[in-house]
């Protein structure tokens, strides 16, 4: 007998709910981890308009790692949304979809108070 909780037995709207909820849960977590640890997939040097995987000399100007954070967070959230079975998220409280980003927001404000210490 087929498992009624299997992914195949779920309606498209349930699978959509699962995928989009997982995306919005994973994205802020990955993004905060990346920026807190300053993890860079690549660096963009706007002065010379070049992408590099490694840190370049100061003659290249300031490096930007924001674009890498966005790409990695989006990719990680999309992969999680695609692979996490909807049966795992069937009993997930929908409120996490705003509470997790809200915590990430609070963390961001606390973390950025470092600018006040200059």
């Amino acid at each position: 007998m087929a498992d009624p909780q299997s992914t195949l037995s779920r309606s498209p709207s349930e699978r959509l709910f699962s995928a989009l909820t997982v995306f919005s849960l994973v994205f802020p977590v990955v993004y905060v981890v990346l920026y807190y640890n300053e993890l860079a997939l690549f660096r963009f040097y706007p002065l010379v308009g070049e992408l590099h995987l490694n840190i370049q000399p100061t003659t290249f100007g300031p490096a930007m790692i924001y674009y890498g954070w966005i790409i990695v967070s989006t990719f990680a959230a999309a992969v999680a949304a695609a692979v996490v079975p909807s049966r795992w998220t069937a009993h997930l409280w929908a409120g996490w979809s705003w509470l997790v980003p809200a915590f990430a927001t609070l963390f961001t404000f606390i973390y950025e108070t470092r600018w006040l210490l200059h």
Binding site: P28, G61, M64, W98, P101, W115, L116
Partner: protein
């Protein structure tokens, strides 16, 4: 070119802030809207009809902001740091993070407004919309003040 993009970024933000403000006021009202008053008309809208516009405008504005961010990094942030305007610089860092968090929130936002089988998630819809509205207002105000301090060349 940066100036054109910045003005477009600002104009899209104005449309976005209008749409999300209508939506939040309509969604969070605790009493029926009073007809024939400014706030009554502001609140008396079909909030769901703004969801697609908010999602699309947010994505467009994020993209425009990401493009001109490079000019900010080269021209504005060094000025802020040299002028010891660290609160302004830090506010912009927060703006950049909230813009990203808003991007991650968009799928949930769209889901709670548009997925027909989920109409019973009214509480989640209210909080997701309020959070997105906070991001949009914060980013609009910080961007506006920063541009007053030192605009893009």
């Amino acid at each position: 070119m940066s100036t054109v993009l910045l003005i477009t970024h600002g104009l899209v933000a104005v449309a976005l802030i209008g749409a999300i403000t209508h939506q939040v006021l309509a969604l969070w009202r605790t009493a029926p809207a009073t007809p024939n008053t400014f706030f009554g008309r502001l609140r008396n809208v079909r909030a769901g009809s703004y969801a697609d516009a908010v999602a699309i405008l947010y994505a467009i504005d994020f993209l425009l902001g990401a493009i001109i961010y490079a000019s900010y990094r080269l021209e504005v942030r060094p000025y802020l740091e040299n002028a010891d305007l660290y609160i302004a610089a830090g506010s912009f860092e927060t703006k950049e993070h909230l813009a990203a968090l808003g991007l991650g929130l968009l799928p949930a936002y769209w889901l709670f407004w548009k997925a027909p089988a989920l109409t019973n998630h009214s509480t989640e819809r209210k909080y997701v919309t309020l959070l997105l509205a906070f991001y949009i207002w914060w980013n609009f105000l910080v961007g506006h003040v920063l541009n007053n301090i030192h605009g893009l060349p």
